[in-house]
């Protein structure tokens, strides 16, 4: 009896968004009296970090610090329309809409600043710290809070902007099947190192090495967390999770998502994650979606690593000790027909 080591590899191409019957998201942005910019959305942050990334997109476009951006979202009664948080679309769709809205608001901000400074708006630029400065004469400047006050109480201007990103509906060409279903595709691969106990059938994932090409990682810390948390979920799909019973009676299996087994902190592998940044033309500052794809490649990589370790070709998730042992038994008995563990 032995602990058998193996290495497996798998890749994924993953679409950012889908075209549905047309897939839009909208954003509205306006300045408060004190020069903070409220971004109104109905897009939902379920913990993936959308509000953080949208704050970055708005601040970058306005040329202001992130502290000047307030995200007001997830009330579909009052926010402008968003199709939702799915299909790895949030950063791409909402980011593009927010950039469009922020560009319009920035133009008004510069126009009001120009009137206050008695210069041409085209000669002004925000410096990223809260001031708007005359290009080439940096001592001539005005703070965004003064611009906002002047707009509200002196000049009767709304510093605001509207944005929408629409992925138009795309029907397949009947003759060829050709269509344009997504906005761009992200690419990734994972290499898994596993250890298989040929006595118990238990599989342990030792290491996961992830490489992701996701356009631009707008927030590298969140992107890394998404890759490694997603890889953990993939490992969980591969080895642990099922709501289907292992035994004939359904009573013996977990009946809901609160009861099934998932890997805990003692089950985690060492992970290494690398990004290749090739900005996407359609993405906000080049970003592609990264949400769903991260759970995909670890599953096939682990299956391939199990094959490399012990010769068992598992094809039904999760790769439980029982399924691995059945595969090993089949190999040992030389029963090639029963080698698949799918039965």
């Amino acid at each position: 009896m032995a602990m058998l080591r193996g290495r497996g590899y798998a890749s994924v191409n993953y679409p950012t968004g889908m075209n549905l019957g047309g897939d839009p998201s909208q954003a509205l942005i306006h300045s408060t009296t004190m020069g903070n910019f409220v971004v109104s959305l109905s897009s939902v942050d379920v913990g993936q970090g959308l509000k953080t990334v949208i704050t970055q997109c708005a601040a970058e476009t306005l040329g202001l610090p992130c502290e000047n951006v307030i995200i007001d979202t997830a009330d579909t009664d009052t926010g402008p329309h968003c199709m939702g948080t799915f299909a790895s679309r949030g950063t791409h769709r909402v980011g593009n809409a927010v950039i469009m809205a922020a560009e319009e608001a920035r133009q008004v901000m510069l126009e009001v600043a120009a009137e206050e400074l008695e210069v041409d708006a085209a000669d002004l630029e925000p410096d990223g710290t809260g001031y708007i400065r005359l290009k080439g004469a940096v001592e001539k400047k005005i703070h965004v809070s003064e611009v906002a006050l002047a707009a509200h109480f002196k000049r009767g201007r709304t510093i605001s902007g509207r944005g929408i990103f629409l992925k138009e509906k795309s029907d397949p060409v009947p003759e060829t099947g050709e269509m344009d279903p997504d906005s761009c595709q992200a690419h990734a691969c994972t290499v898994a190192d596993v250890e298989v106990d040929d006595e118990t059938g238990e599989v342990r994932v030792l290491e996961l090495h992830n490489v992701y090409e996701i356009g631009r990682a707008l927030n590298p810390a969140i992107a890394t967390q998404q890759v490694e948390g997603g890889a953990w979920m993939g490992m969980s799909h591969a080895l642990f999770e099922t709501t289907e019973p292992y035994y004939p009676l359904r009573d013996h299996g977990p009946a809901s998502f609160t009861e099934y087994l998932i890997p805990g902190p003692a089950d985690i592998p060492v992970q290494e994650s690398v990004f290749l940044e090739r900005p996407a033309a359609s993405g906000p500052y080049g970003a592609k979606g990264i949400g769903e794809m991260t759970a995909n490649p670890p599953i096939a990589a682990i299956a391939n690593a199990i094959f490399d370790a012990c010769g068992v070709r598992v094809d039904t998730m999760p790769f439980t000790p029982e399924r691995v042992l059945r595969g090993l038994d089949a190999l040992r008995s030389g029963d090639r027909a029963a080698e698949s563990t799918s039965s």
Binding site: G47, G49, Q225, G229, W232, T258, G264
Partner: protein, 173 residues
Amino acid sequence: MASQVIALVVNDEEREFIAKPGTSLLSGLRDSLGLTAAKRGCAQGGCGACTVLVDGKAVLSCLLAVETINGATVRTLEGVAADGQLDEVQSAFLDGFATQCGFCTPGMIMAAEALLDRNPDPGEDEVAEAISGNHCRCTGYRPIMNAIVDAARRRREARAAAGAPARVSEEVA
């Protein structure tokens, strides 16, 4: 059975509230005392998001009938940075980006506080065991485990520099 007055020392303050029989400590904290850091996740002891300290031990507050601990000393996440200063565990979580959506974080931090008080220098296996009752669905656990090891180091160094005993509870005793 009638409702009864429950008296607890919560985050160093004497608090009283009326509870029906079977009321969980979590419900008492959240619904009667307005302390919402401890989260109601699964409400059946499976996720650990409701973890608080009762007399220094990490417990699942959703499973604990509050009348059975009348008079106990309770610490929640609100009591960890009561003076507005993040402690070593919180700082290490922040610096190590050991949160993502944040729902598990209060329970993780309280489980870590209990661990560091009984073991100021835990190994990775001991950290894993200490948070094995706490689910995280975002991070894959690695940043959380790293943060707890880092917090232990920060606390050992801070307490050694201050000439304090390694365990916070030894000061009280």
